[in-house]
Structures are given as structure tokens and as C-alpha cells.
């Protein structure tokens, strides 16, 4: 006889019900039905609202019987629902008293914070029905994806080369040539390109469901429709953006994303997600009520004593991440992505907010950050903080790390940019940045430092060397948005020019920058398209442009083939040399008896670095016998950086017997002699000295 473990105990209209299980939260398939579970500390009652897929009116509203509530959790099984074709939401009743932080409104239908699939914006940029009473709709997820033997790759963090990418922008441009531009499937078609470049990790800008129409508007002068293109504003935290999937129209975005991740893993590429837990898409008191505000406003948001929204995120509200209930949701969310999607790492947007208490004060021992650091499911995931917020908390070098968290090293970006354009007084700090910033991360090791010169937020690398000022007029905010502190230099002309000398210098500066990045200890990150000279025409905050300003133009791969080749070889060089990827900090000592310190500093005279304020020159040598703390034998590497506008003759340090210097890169040389394939570096005729051109970098290999 077949056992019946779960059977209806109640009826409501045509529906058969029973008390549900409080955990897991959300909608879960159970024998014969669906278990719905949602919590609210302050709601007095809750009603489940069911729709047939894409229908404007609900098919049923089922109040949770009082006896189905355990603690603050409303849990109910509804039997006989065709889970493929339903959408669900909730109505919550409770006090409406904004001063106390309560904004319950049973007229609103609310999205489940744990919804794993969200409908309503199934196709990118297709105008929704604004009269729809339920804009973002919870749907059921299927977990039958066939992962075969896949799991997160667990590449050691010091070996990572991160490529930051916007899902849509990567392949949306007509020149991408993919079958489904702007989608997860499109990225999958470009895996051979990513492999050729040599990166081993893509970091996806937000892919949790968001509303591209949030704050959308028409540019008054150009008529361009401006959207929430970047997506740093989440509608839900558990569901992938349907509009990023070619199969979103079939609600199969989950499968398409998983297929992409599996294929990337099969090709040795990890996947990081840029996650935004600092705020939601509901904005301030004037924003829409989508989910959290109507479910339990006082718990989910940081509120002023008057009941308004604290705005540490700069976007209207701040998620109350150290409320224990919200903290659990964040943890559940990340566990879900790690376990269900095999995500390899997370980058936390404005992560300093996660270390604030419910009233906004920074915590010395933030429980959420500690939870994430020691969680068993997340144990092998890389955790990366953007260690600042819009409320003035700047924690680069001091973010509570628990030995686990790495940081976007904003100081690396700033120092390298200043050094690159020839600012004085940078050499001393540059030496720290090259070593993985031991001044900031002395006890955490160099891999705590995510080194980057450019990211989605700010100039592209091509624009960094082409513009002195931001040019954000196309954003329709009178050029008031975006950072004014860019440390950029246009090389003599603002914007595009036909001047061959300026263009040659710009190209050299780009090469210098990537050379710095790839010979620095720590974890390098490049942003999509920098390897082919992508421009945003001087716009350093292209958050609202779903157009050619943001999309990667693949024709540049042909016109800037030499740049791509330079990036590719630089990446390959880093991967070939363990001495560039130390797990622990360099000691500036010889501790293996090689006769050379692990790193030594030089200037135009060997062994005599010029640390003076006026110096724009720095050279260093890495001793191959000290690679990875002396565990590996590698070549010796010598790097000369001359950011002075004059050419300088550098005396080379003498190598151990039977070793000779070979030239890997010399950025002043025209292609193809600007860089060589690792392993094929030509022997250097003059082993004593090297003429390093103005504003250029030279990398030699001793072998």
C-alpha cells in the first residue's frame, strides 16, 4: 500500500489545503501540491494570491488560516496546483504607520522575497502593461537541470584573472555575430574568445531580476530612451534576470544560465556574481511597493527615527542587512546561488553597508560578514567587497575580512592611474601596489587585493587615456553625475584625434596599464572590452545606456588586433610565472639562499631605486627561486617602468650565472616587437643596460 504522508486537512473554495512547513521559505513543490511559506514580524494576516500565468486578474485568493501560522511565518500547502502555469504573490495586512516604520497595504500584491523565478519583465526592453496590478510575479522553479559532474572550480584566488562583464553589453552589438545577442546564450557562444584572451573568471554585473524601466526616461535633447541598464537595483534576490535569457519568453532563464555556467566551467572559467544587497528597487517612500516594503518594512529597511529611509546606498533606501531576519535571507540567497547555480564567487556592491547596524553605525564585528565568511556552503566561494558605501564609509584595507574577504582595491586604481600619467610623488606607493598592497593587507596576503585600473563604474581604459574630464551629457543630468576624480590624462587632446603621435601614446599608455596590472601581486581584474580599446566617448557613468555607448563593439577586435594580442600575451605571461602570483607577501629578503631578495628595487642604476618625490621611474626584479614562498622554481623577472616623458637608460641587475635576460615586452616598440609570446622571448644583446623609452614599460625574463 502506498503511504500517504501529506494529505489535505482544510478546504477553501475549490482548493484543498493543509498547514505548510515554515522552511524552506518561498514556494516549494511537495507531494501533490506546493508549499508556500513567508514571514513577516509585523503583519496581522496574509493572503496567498494565485494567477494563471500572465493573466491580469487573480484566479484565486486564499487567506492563510490562523492555525497555519507558526511564529511569524505563514505556511500553507495548496494541493492540485499546476505549478507550470501559475504565478503567486501575497497580500499582507497590518498597521499603516510610517512613523513607526509600518507601511502595510492589503490592496497591494507582493512578490515573495524568495521567488526563484520572476515574471513580468520576460523580454528585455518590452514595455510592460503599466496598469497590471501585479508587476513582478513569483513563479515556480524547476531544479532538474542535469549538471553532470560539474561543481565550482575552486581555482586558487591568487591564480585568478577576472573579466568584469555586462551580460547584455557583451554581445548585444550587431557586430558580435552571435545567434542570440545580449543573452546568457550569447556569452556561451563567445567562450572561445574568452579562452583565447586567457581570463579564467567572468564577473557578471547584476543578474538578479531588476526592472530596466525603473526610473526610465527620455533624454530631453536626444530623445534617447534611458534605462536602468546596469541593473544595480534588485526586484528579487533569488531569480535570474529573465530579459537576459533568450529563453526568458519560455521562463527558462534558469536553465539557460545554468547551461552557460556549466559550459564556462568545462572551459576552466569561473563565474562570479556582482550582488547588490545594499538596497532594493523600491526606492524611498515615493517608490513602488513591490515586495519588502509591504511585507515588513520595519524589518527590511534601515529607517530614521521619523520612519523615513536611510540612504547609505545613494539610491533611496538601505536594506537592513544586520537585522537577523534579513541577514538570514542574504545567507539563504548566497547559499542558493552557490549550491543551485554553482557560482564560484561573489562581489558585493557597496559592501560597507553590510557592516552597518540597523541605525547605520559601522559595526566592529558585523555578524553578516562573519556569517558569510564561515558558512560551510560558501566555504570555497570567493568573497569580494567593494569596501565603501555612499554614506561615507571607506574601508579599503580595513574591511572586516575574517581571513576570507578580498577587496576591490580602490587605492590600487588611484595610485596606478596617477603614476601612469606621470604624477610626482607616486613611486613609493606604487611599490606597495605592485607588491599586492602589503601596507593595506599585511596580514591577509596579496590575494586580498583585487587589483584593477578600470571597472564598469568609471572610464574605460581607452577613455582613461583620451579624456581629462567626464562627458556624461548623454545621461541627461547636465554632466553632474559620475565621479569627478578620474586621474585620467588625454595625452594632449580631449577625445578622438587624427594626430598619430597622440594616438600612439594612448595606445602605449593602455599597454603600460595592462603591463602594470599583470606584473602586480594580487588578483588582476579587467573590464569587458578594454582589451580591444572599447570607448564610451568619455562617459564615466553609462548606467542608463542600452545602446552603442555601452555595448562592446566587436569590430574593434580587428582594428585593435595588436592591443588584443598585447593583453593576451600579458595574461599568458602572468599565468606562466608563479613568481607573479604569490600567495603570501614578498619579504624583500633572500630567505632561500639564492643570493637575491624575493623582490629587489632598482632605478636607472641597478640596486638604486629613486624614491624621491620627483621620480617617475621604478624598476624591480622578482627572484624566480622565491616563487610562491620558494616552493616553485621560476624565471627571474625584471620590470622597468618609465613614466617620465624622457627616455632613460636603465642599468640591469646582474643575473645568476648561466642566466641571460630576454625581452618579453617593451611598450614603446611597434607591434609585433612590443610583446612576445611567453616562452619565445628573444635574447637581449646588451645584458648590462636597456634604453627604456619615454612613458613606457619593459619586462625582461631571466632564464
Amino acid at each position: 500500500m502506498e503511504r500517504i504522508d501529506i494529505h489535505p486537512t482544510h478546504t477553501y473554495g475549490e482548493f484543498k489545503l493543509r498547514a505548510g512547513r515554515p522552511l524552506p521559505f518561498g514556494a516549494t513543490r511537495v507531494e501533490g501540491g506546493i508549499n508556500f511559506s513567508i514571514s513577516s514580524r509585523h503583519a496581522s494576516s496574509c493572503t496567498l494570491v494565485l494567477f494563471k500565468k500572465r493573466q491580469s486578474e487573480p484566479m484565486a485568493e486564499i487567506p492563510f488560516p490562523d492555525e497555519f501560522r507558526i511564529g511569524n511565518v505563514f505556511a500553507m500547502v495548496v494541493f492540485g496546483l499546476g505549478y507550470e502555469n501559475i504565478e503567486y504573490g501575497f497580500r499582507m495586512d497590518g498597521p499603516y504607520n510610517p512613523q513607526e516604520g509600518h507601511r502595510f497595504d492589503p490592496a497591494k500584491i507582493l512578490l515573495d522575497p524568495y521567488a526563484k523565478v520572476i515574471g513580468g519583465r520576460d523580454l528585455w526592453r518590452v514595455q510592460p502593461d503599466w496598469n497590471d496590478i501585479y508587476q513582478h510575479r513569483g513563479r515556480m522553479v524547476f531544479d532538474d537541470f542535469h549538471w553532470e559532474s560539474d561543481r565550482p572550480l575552486e581555482i586558487p584566488i591568487e591564480d585568478m584573472i577576472i573579466y568584469e562583464m555586462h551580460v547584455r553589453g557583451f554581445t548585444r552589438h550587431p557586430s558580435s555575430g552571435v545567434k542570440h545577442p545580449g543573452t546568457f546564450a550569447g556569452i556561451r557562444e563567445k567562450i572561445p574568445y574568452l579562452k583565447e584572451l586567457g581570463i579564467n573568471c567572468i564577473e557578471l554585473m547584476p543578474i538578479f531580476e531588476f526592472d530596466e524601466f525603473e526610473n526610465s526616461r527620455t533624454h530631453p535633447a536626444t530623445g534617447e530612451l534611458l534605462l536602468n541598464y546596469w541593473g544595480y537595483s534588485q526586484v528579487g534576490f533569488f531569480a535570474p534576470k529573465a530579459g537576459y535569457a533568450a529563453t526568458g519568453k519560455f521562463s527558462m532563464q534558469v536553465d539557460e544560465l545554468k547551461a552557460l555556467i556549466q559550459d564556462l566551467h568545462n572551459n576552466g572559467i569561473e563565474v562570479f556574481l556582482d550582488v547588490v544587497f545594499n538596497h532594493t528597487a523600491e526606492g524611498n517612500e515615493n517608490g513602488p511597493t513591490i515586495s519588502f516594503r509591504g511585507i515588513d518594512n520595519q524589518s527590511y529597511y534601515m529607517l530614521t527615527p521619523e520612519g523615513y529611509y536611510y540612504n547609505f546606498s545613494g539610491t533611496g533606501n538601505t536594506l537592513n542587512c544586520n537585522n537577523p531576519m534579513v541577514r538570514n535571507m542574504v545567507l539563504d540567497c548566497l547559499r542558493y546561488w552557490a549550491a543551485e547555480y554553482h557560482i564560484d564567487g561573489f562581489r558585493f556592491d557597496l559592501a560597507s553597508i553590510l557592516g552597518r547596524d540597523p541605525w547605520g553605525a559601522p559595526l566592529s564585528n558585523p555578524p553578516l560578514l562573519e556569517n558569510l565568511a564561515f558558512d560551510p556552503i560558501l566555504a570555497k566561494c570567493k568573497l569580494i567587497a567593494e569596501a565603501w558605501d555612499a554614506g561615507g564609509l571607506y574601508q579599503v584595507g580595513s574591511f572586516p575580512s575574517y581571513g576570507r574577504w578580498a577587496e576591490w582595491n580602490g587605492k590600487y586604481r588611484d595610485t596606478v592611474r596617477k603614476f601612469l600619467k606621470g604624477d610626482m610623488g607616486q613611486v613609493g606607493e606604487m611599490a606597495q601596489r605592485i607588491q599586492g598592497s602589503p601596507d593595506l593587507y599585511w596580514w591577509r596576503g596579496p590575494s586580498a587585493s583585487i587589483n584593477f585600473i578600470t571597472a564598469h563604474d568609471g572610464f574605460t581604459l581607452a577613455d582613461l587615456v583620451s579624456y581629462n574630464q567626464k562627458h556624461n551629457e548623454a545621461n541627461g543630468e547636465n554632466n553632474n553625475d559620475g565621479s569627478n576624480d578620474n586621474d585620467s590624462w588625454n595625452c594632449g587632446w580631449e577625445g578622438p584625434t587624427d594626430d598619430p603621435e597622440i594616438n600612439a601614446l594612448r595606445c602605449r599608455q593602455i599597454k603600460n596599464a595592462v603591463a602594470f596590472l599583470m606584473v602586480s601581486q594580487g588578483v588582476p581584474m579587467i573590464v569587458m572590452g578594454d582589451e580591444i580599446g572599447r570607448t564610451q566617448q568619455g562617459n564615466n557613468n553609462a548606467y542608463c545606456h542600452d545602446n552603442e555607448l555601452s555595448w562592446m563593439d566587436w569590430t574593434l577586435l580587428k582594428s585593435n588586433a595588436d592591443l588584443f594580442r598585447f593583453f593576451k600575451n600579458c595574461i599568458a605571461f602572468r599565468k606562466a610565472h608563479a613568481v607573479l602570483r604569490n600567495r603570501t607577501h614578498l619579504r624583500n629578503q633572500d630567505y632561500v639562499g639564492s643570493g637575491y631578495p624575493d623582490i629587489s628595487w632598482h632605478g636607472v642604476r641597478a640596486w638604486q631605486p629613486d624614491w624621491s618625490g620627483a621620480s617617475r621611474i621604478l624598476a624591480f626584479m622578482l627572484c624566480g627561486a622565491h616563487a610562491n614562498g620558494g616552493q616553485h622554481q621560476d624565471n627571474y623577472i625584471y620590470v622597468a617602468l618609465n613614466m617620465h616623458w624622457e627616455t632613460h637608460l636603465f642599468e640591469l641587475p646582474e643575473l645568476p650565472q648561466r642566466m641571460q635576460w630576454h625581452v618579453f615586452a617593451n611598450t614603446i616598440m611597434p607591434p609585433p616587437e612590443d610583446i612576445w609570446k611567453p616562452g619565445s622571448e628573444p635574447w637581449l644583446e646588451d645584458q648590462q643596460q636597456f634604453l627604456v623609452g619615454s612613458r613606457s614599460a619593459v619586462i625582461l625574463v631571466g632564464k
Binding site: 499546476g82 532538474d144 542535469h146 527558462m252 545554468k258
Partner: protein, 112 residues
């Protein structure tokens, strides 16, 4: 056009000829035929889809169900599927559960 699925089993090869529109409501019909094929211990499962006009995600999910039901040793062939169906199978990774071919190839399929 209404969905229909017809199963024939011959020499260990189960063929399900599908036509019409396979939406969520008709998926149980398809699944039932898969179960029947499994009951008859088929060594190959061939899904003839050239007359299938539309397949909903529930129908595609049934391919995963088929693989689970039939077991790893049983190859599943999707024959003659329309381009949109094929695209979706590939983009969602379902192509790892089935072998897609344009036309029925007796030499390959019947070579057990």
C-alpha cells in the same frame, strides 16, 4: 492542432511520433508514453518531432524526465525538431540529455 503522441516499440527501439502543440496541459500525455517505453525495456528512445509545431517548457522538461526515466544507458534521439525547438534545447543545456539529428538514420539508431 491538438497534440498527439504515438508509441511503437520494435526490436528494442521505442519511437514516439509527436504532432501538434505540446503545451503544459498535454505534457502528462507525453510523459505517459515515455513511461510506457520504459516499461517495454527499450534500448533506444526516438522522438520524431518533425510534425510538432510547438513545445512549451514543460514539454522540454519532459526530455529531462525521459533521460531520468530511461536511464543513462539508453540514448534518446530527437529527430527533425524545428529550429526554434532545437535552439531552445541547446540554450538550456537539454542537449546534454538527448542527441539531436535532422532525419532518422537507421544505421546509427538501430545499430544496438
Amino acid at each position: 492542432m491538438a497534440f498527439s503522441a504515438t508509441l511503437t516499440v520494435d526490436s528494442g527501439i521505442a519511437k514516439i511520433t509527436m504532432s501538434g502543440q505540446l503545451d503544459a496541459s498535454m505534457t502528462p500525455v507525453f510523459q505517459r508514453e515515455i513511461e510506457n517505453a520504459q516499461t517495454q525495456q527499450a534500448k533506444r528512445l526516438v522522438l520524431l518531432m518533425s510534425d510538432l509545431d510547438y513545445i512549451a517548457s514543460a514539454g522540454l522538461r519532459a526530455l529531462v524526465f525521459a533521460k531520468q526515466k530511461m536511464g543513462r544507458a539508453v540514448d534518446i534521439y530527437v529527430v527533425g525538431a524545428q529550429q526554434q525547438v532545437l535552439d531552445t534545447i541547446q540554450m538550456t543545456g537539454f542537449d546534454r540529455s538527448v542527441i539531436t539529428i535532422e532525419t532518422y538514420d537507421a544505421e546509427v539508431i538501430e545499430n544496438i
